[in-house]
Structure formats: structure tokens, C-alpha cells
């Protein structure tokens, strides 16, 4: 008989005695360097954390190597963060440097704490999903290689969160990131009339379209797409494999900036469109990487201490943002989706 519905392992079974003893009794923490934190509890006990970014996609042998390090230096306990970083939880201060050295030798450099770029949140891409417009892991690798200094050294005005989603389903928290990459299609789906009636439920396909671009075509037992209304979301393809939306000549990436999830100082913000389209250029996406680099360098130079990306833009204004980055502003930047009018400016106060 199969056992079901017993739930995940209990977290307390996965925690060291020190963590359990001081559970909920942490008093303060300090950032020791960009890869190391110390948490001090009411009782005076200390817990050191060494953090390092992982590629998220890992072979079990790599996870086993993490286990080896945790056994050697951390009494057998470690954790991961919400951004796919690994964290080693150390009791004995003397273990910090040897652990870091071994991690580094494995190719995992500690970093991402404090005013840095931490690990880049991302999705599956060509590795494992059926709807992506771009790859995920390859772009993340290329971008992180390029901006690695900002991961290792605290040279930014504030923390900076990068994220990537490989299609408009956006399976990673991209819409509230400082700088986000999103895979976009640019042409409507191609309707395969001969397959639709066999593979798809036509009413569901019609209902799936957010812009009502799809109509039934009873004569052919198929559907037609009104190209004028389609905004290439791929939702129809999700419902119906006979409407593929891929187009290697046209698929690519958009860049959104200025979002955050924390409410500190300024409430959480959505990311806004900075660059509508950059073509796919595997294996290292040079144009995309260069543009991300530019977006980060300009912010690093121009923002004031403590200002997140979106706070910086709010202070200088979007017209200035396009000026200082040199990025073109186009009709694509002006919203015409469902709730667009409140994004239009209705004051005559702006900068030149």
C-alpha cells in the first residue's frame, strides 16, 4: 500500500542544536564580508553563515560535495536561500576560512551579501520547458560572469536583484526585480488547422486568449487569430499544441528595471520596461549582456548611497533615465494593455 499525504520532512529535524536552541531568539546580525554573516543570539551564541551562488541546476555529485563540506565544517547542517544560493551554517569561527577555501576550489565563490548582486533568480529555458522564447541557464551564466565583480565586492549603492524568466508565464519572480530579463515572442502563433480538431478543445483555446484575438472557424473545425490583437503571450499554445508560437528569427529578450519586493523606505514596485527586444545570441548573448552591464554601471555611478534601482529612477525621473543610459524610448514603452491610462503623465512638470 502506498503511503501518501504525509508532508515534507520536519524542518526541526534538519536543524543543528545551535539553531534549535536559539530559534526565535536571534538578537542582531552583522555582515562580515560579502560572503559571510554572523548572527548573535540573546544568549550570546554566534552562528556564522557563508553564502555562495549556485547555478541552481546541479548534479547530485555537487550537492554531495556540499554535504561533505557541511559534514566537515558545520556538523552536517546547511541550507539554501530563496535565490538558489547555498548557505553553510558554522558554529566554530575557525572553520570559516578553510570552508571558504574549499568552496572556492570547487568553483563556488562566496558572495552576494550586503550591497551586492546576489544570485540571479531564473527558470528552466531550453533545458526543460516547452514554451521558452530564450534560454535561462546560459544567459544567467553569461550575465553573472560579466557582473561578477558586483557579486564579490560591495560596490553598489544598495543591493541589486537580477532575475530572468524565459517566457511571459514568468515562472521566476521577475516582475519585482531591480533588473529583469524576460523572454518575448514577436509574431502570432501559427495555426495548424489539420491538427487542431484532434489535439485541442476549441472553446478552451478561444477563452485562453487574454486579448480575445482568437475566433472559432467552424468550417475548418479550427480557429483564426486576429493578428492585430495578438500580443504573443503564448497562452493559446499552452492550451493547444497545434498553435506553436516559436520563431527563432524573432524570439528574444526584453529588459525590465526598477522593481523590488521589500517595503523598506518605499513600497514594493513592479519592474518597468527599459528595452523591448534584444535578439537571441547563444551561447553568450553579447548584446544582452552588454546592455545589462550598462544598466548596472550607470546605476552604480549615479545612484545615492542606499538607493535601490527603482528609487534612483523615481528620484531622477524616467526621462532622465533614458537620457543617462542612452537607451532609446519607443512607442513600445507606452502601455496599451488593460490598465494603461494611470501610467500616462497628467502633469506638466518634468525634466529635460
Amino acid at each position: 500500500m502506498v503511503k501518501t499525504d504525509f508532508g515534507p520532512p520536519k524542518y526541526l529535524d534538519m536543524m543543528s542544536d545551535l539553531c534549535k536552541r536559539n530559534y526565535g531568539k536571534w538578537k542582531y546580525h552583522e555582515v562580515l564580508d560579502t560572503g559571510t554573516l554572523v548572527h548573535v543570539s540573546e544568549s550570546g551564541e554566534k552562528l556564522y553563515t557563508v553564502r555562495a551562488a549556485t547555478p541552481r541546476l546541479m548534479h547530485i555529485d555537487t550537492v554531495r560535495a556540499f554535504c561533505d563540506l557541511a559534514d566537515k565544517y558545520c556538523g552536517g547542517f546547511f541550507r539554501f536561500t530563496s535565490r538558489h544560493s547555498v548557505e553553510f551554517l558554522i558554529e566554530d569561527e575557525a572553520n570559516i576560512e578553510p570552508l571558504k577555501a574549499e568552496l572556492h576550489a570547487m568553483g563556488y565563490t562566496p558572495g552576494g551579501v550586503g550591497n551586492t548582486i546576489s544570485n540571479m533568480l531564473h527558470t528552466q529555458g531550453w533545458i526543460h520547458c516547452h514554451t521558452p522564447a530564450i534560454d535561462a541557464s546560459g544567459i544567467v551564466k553569461s550575465v553573472m560572469d560579466e557582473v561578477f565583480e558586483y557579486y564579490k565586492e560591495a560596490k553598489l549603492p544598495a543591493r541589486l536583484r537580477l532575475a530572468l524568466a524565459c517566457c511571459l508565464n514568468m515562472c521566476g519572480a521577475v516582475h519585482c526585480s531591480d533588473v529583469a530579463i524576460v523572454g518575448v515572442h514577436r509574431v502570432p502563433p501559427k495555426v495548424q488547422d489539420d491538427k487542431i480538431s484532434k489535439m485541442c478543445e476549441i472553446p478552451n483555446v478561444v477563452a485562453a486568449c487574454p486579448t480575445r484575438a482568437i475566433r472559432p472557424e467552424p468550417a475548418k473545425k479550427s480557429v483564426v487569430v486576429n493578428d492585430e490583437r495578438c500580443m504573443y503571450c503564448g497562452n493559446c499554445y499552452t492550451m493547444c499544441p497545434a498553435m506553436p508560437i516559436f520563431d527563432p528569427k524573432n524570439d528574444g529578450a526584453a529588459i525590465f528595471v526598477g522593481g523590488k519586493v521589500s517595503d523598506a523606505r518605499h513600497p514594493a514596485m513592479f519592474s518597468k520596461l527599459a528595452v523591448p527586444y534584444i535578439p537571441n545570441e547563444p551561447p553568450r548573448w553579447p548584446t544582452l549582456v552588454k546592455t545589462i552591464r550598462l544598466l548596472i554601471d550607470v546605476y552604480a555611478k549615479d545612484a545615492k548611497e542606499g538607493e535601490r534601482y527603482g528609487e534612483w529612477i523615481n528620484r531622477i525621473g524616467w526621462e532622465k533615465f533614458f537620457q543617462v543610459t542612452g537607451l532609446p524610448f519607443t512607442d513600445k514603452h507606452i502601455d496599451d494593455y488593460i490598465f494603461s491610462v494611470p501610467t500616462f503623465r497628467s502633469t506638466a512638470t518634468f525634466k529635460w
Binding site: 524542518y11 555529485d61 565563490t109 523598506a264
Partner: protein
């Protein structure tokens, strides 16, 4: 064992300081044919700039409606190892804490029954197992069950709830995020494992306004820790920060969104007009040794976040400004169950709860849940006179 696939494009991703996923797949390819084929298929995607995964396909295991996602190559003749290469979502321990002996057994099972490739973790919060055959799905689930690991959610069900590290290692957790997520996950196993709703439903829990799991941005039901009374000030530590050269005016006083902090440079003392504090957490973030949250803690509950498809994206909005979060969290459950009932009854297929509220109005939602309307729910009251009255509210 056939030779490793030639991957000139992917090989360019082996260099550089950031750890390489290609190296990870190659580790697998040395002992597993499916990983070797994955390299080959990915190289083909790099050449052609298009995915080679076919559209889903239903696969499943006994007793569960979700947790497994079908994955089939569209070029199986070239890459026979990927003919079936399904994803499995395994519910993570709260806070993503691991003890190595437990985890090693987990990894051994995946070595025996799958590709050996994983995500720690998927954006859903689950451990993701990337790639196995249909006939291995049931054995994986059985073997994992034996070691105490259960499936996560997928499809139109309660998705695997997740929470920030909270009291496990953070002084800012106003609520016991780990206990809450663990309790709710266990309580709603049926909802998690058997899709029966209009669409997916996500619960995410952050211990404070820093919102470490992006609950407000990603979860239909977002629980965020906060406090009600005064911020605690340690005067000696304030002086230590100032003497250490910390820019208290620039980083704390001027950055307070409600300008309710004042600093006296003569006495080096900080004072906070707590009645005007909105608990944004900035001052505490900047001076963790000097400032601590109040002692009357609980959570703000927000609802409705979902991605841009279909109705534009929403961030969650406030429905309960403050709820005490005492175990066993029955108050949260009562609210959740009322919401699910209303959504289940009124929601259209693939309509998230936030979209339903948008379609029927907060007024219907409040009526269904019995929650009172309070000013904390809005940035400002409406600016138009187009509102509805119920029959009972007007003179007949």
C-alpha cells in the same frame, strides 16, 4: 558507454567565474545516457534558437493528482535518452534546511532512478528532479516516501507553500514563518495533492516587510510579519553607530518615508514618533543592533498576486491589516477556507482569486469572507461616484 556529445557552443559556457551549469550536466553525462542526450539536445537548441521540448502530456503516480510534469523531447530519434524526461516536484523542508545524512539518502534515490540532475530549488520552492522515465515515477515516489519525502503541488491545486528562513536564523521574523508554513502544508495535504480548483493557489510567508520570499509579489495569499507597538531603541548602540561614522541622517532619518524619526546630534539620541511609523523596516535594516521591532507581533495578510497573463499582473493587497499568529493558526485557516469556498463557487476556469475579486469587486469578497472594510486596505478612497448599494441598504 557512448562518447560524450560534442557541444562546441555549450563548451563556451564552461569558462568564467560563475559556476557553470554545463559542467553540471557533463558530470551527469559521464555516467548517464539521458544527461549526455540532454547536452546534445541543448546544443541543438543553441544552434537553432528554439526549444526541443514537446508540449506537456499527462503523467502521474498513484494517489496523487499533481507533483509530476510530463516532458518529452520533440527529437527523440536523435536523443533517445530524452524520449521521456519528466520533472518531479518534491516538497522542501521549511526554510530549505538540510541535514546531510537525510539528504544523501535522497540523492542516492535520484541517482538510481533518474538523471541525477536537480534544481535546488525551483522557483516554486520545491526541490526539482529533472528527468526520469514514466516507469520510474512510481518507484521514485515510493522510495522517497520510505525516506520521508513527499511530492509538492502542480496544476490547479494548492502549490507547495514556502517561507523565508524566519526564526531559524533571522532576528527580524515577527512570526514563526517555519512553523506556519509547516502547519499549513500538513493541514492541506489533500488540497496540495489533488487539483480541484479553478486554478493554482499559492501561499508564501515572510517574517517581515523585507519580504524575503517575495510573498507579496508571487502568492495569491501573502502572509507578512509586522508589529503593532513601539520600535525598541538601544541608546548605547545608537551612539556606537554614530561614533563609528554611520550616516544616521542620510541613511535613517531622511530615508524614513513618514519622516517620523528625529535625531539630536548633541545628545546623539534618536527618537521615533511611533504613531506615524508605517513599519517599513528601513531604520531597523540599517541599524540592526540599535533598533528592534516592537513586542506585539503578528502578520498582515494580503491577497491576489498573480502574473500578467491574463489580466495584467497584480501585487497582493491588504485584506487583514493585523492578525495574531498563534499556533495552531486556526484564524488563518478559517479565512483561507472561506476564500477557497467563494473562489471555487464563483471562479471561472483558470481564474486566479485576485482576478475573481477584480471581476466581482472587493465588496462581494468582503461579504463572502465577513471581513470588515478598513482604510488600511486602500491607498486612497475611490475618486468616482459610481458605486453600488445593496437592496437592504436603501429605503424600500
Amino acid at each position: 558507454m557512448p562518447e560524450l556529445r560534442k557541444t562546441p557552443m555549450l563548451d563556451q559556457l564552461l569558462d568564467g567565474p560563475f559556476p557553470s551549469f554545463v559542467k553540471e550536466i557533463k558530470k551527469g553525462a559521464e555516467k548517464n545516457e539521458a544527461c549526455n542526450d540532454l547536452l546534445g539536445q541543448l546544443e541543438l537548441s543553441y544552434e537553432e534558437k528554439v526549444t526541443h521540448w514537446k508540449h506537456g502530456g499527462i503523467v502521474g503516480v498513484t494517489g496523487y493528482g499533481g507533483g509530476v510534469i510530463g516532458r518529452y523531447s520533440d527529437v527523440p530519434e536523435k536523443f533517445p535518452g530524452l524520449t521521456e524526461f519528466h520533472t518531479m516536484r518534491i516538497n522542501q523542508p521549511a526554510g530549505w534546511f538540510y541535514k546531510t545524512d537525510r539528504l544523501r539518502k535522497f540523492l542516492d534515490i535520484w541517482e538510481k532512478r533518474g538523471s541525477g540532475l536537480t534544481n535546488f530549488h525551483g522557483a516554486t520552492g520545491d526541490i526539482i528532479l529533472l528527468g526520469t522515465h514514466t516507469d520510474q515515477l512510481q518507484p521514485v515516489v515510493d522510495d522517497l516516501a520510505h525516506e520521508g519525502w513527499d511530492l509538492g503541488g502542480s496544476g490547479s491545486d494548492l502549490r507547495t507553500p514556502s517561507a523565508c528562513v524566519g526564526p531559524g536564523r533571522c532576528e527580524w521574523a515577527c512570526i514563526d514563518t517555519l512553523d506556519i508554513v509547516d502547519t499549513l502544508t500538513r493541514r492541506y495535504q489533500n488540497e496540495l495533492h489533488r487539483p480541484m480548483w479553478p486554478y493554482k493557489f499559492k501561499i508564501k510567508i515572510s517574517g517581515c516587510a523585507n519580504d524575503g520570499v517575495a510573498a507579496k509579489a508571487r502568492a495569491d495569499f501573502s502572509i507578512i510579519g509586522t508589529w503593532k507597538d513601539n520600535i525598541q531603541i538601544n541608546r548605547t548602540e545608537v551612539i556606537n553607530y554614530v561614533n563609528g561614522g554611520f550616516d544616521i541622517i542620510g541613511q535613517v532619518v531622511d530615508k524614513c518615508p513618514t519622516k517620523c524619526i528625529s535625531y539630536n546630534p548633541v545628545t546623539k539620541s534618536l527618537s521615533i514618533d511611533n504613531s506615524n511609523c508605517v513599519r517599513c523596516h528601513n531604520c531597523i535594516n540599517k541599524m540592526p543592533k540599535a533598533l528592534r521591532q516592537g513586542k506585539i507581533t503578528g502578520a498582515t495578510i494580503l491577497i491576489g498576486a498573480h502574473a500578467p497573463i491574463l489580466q495584467s499582473a497584480f501585487m497582493s493587497w491588504v485584506i487583514v491589516p493585523f492578525m495574531e499568529m498563534k499556533p495552531p493558526y486556526d484564524e488563518v485557516s478559517e479565512l483561507l477556507e472561506k476564500i477557497w469556498e467563494w473562489w471555487d463557487e464563483n471562479g471561472k476556469m483558470r481564474e486566479r482569486v485576485g482576478e475573481l475579486i477584480y471581476r466581482l469587486g472587493m465588496r462581494s469578497f468582503l461579504k463572502a469572507t465577513g471581513l470588515p472594510a478598513v482604510p488600511q486596505m486602500v491607498l486612497h478612497p475611490r475618486a468616482n461616484p459610481f458605486y453600488f448599494w445593496d437592496k437592504e441598504e436603501v429605503n424600500q
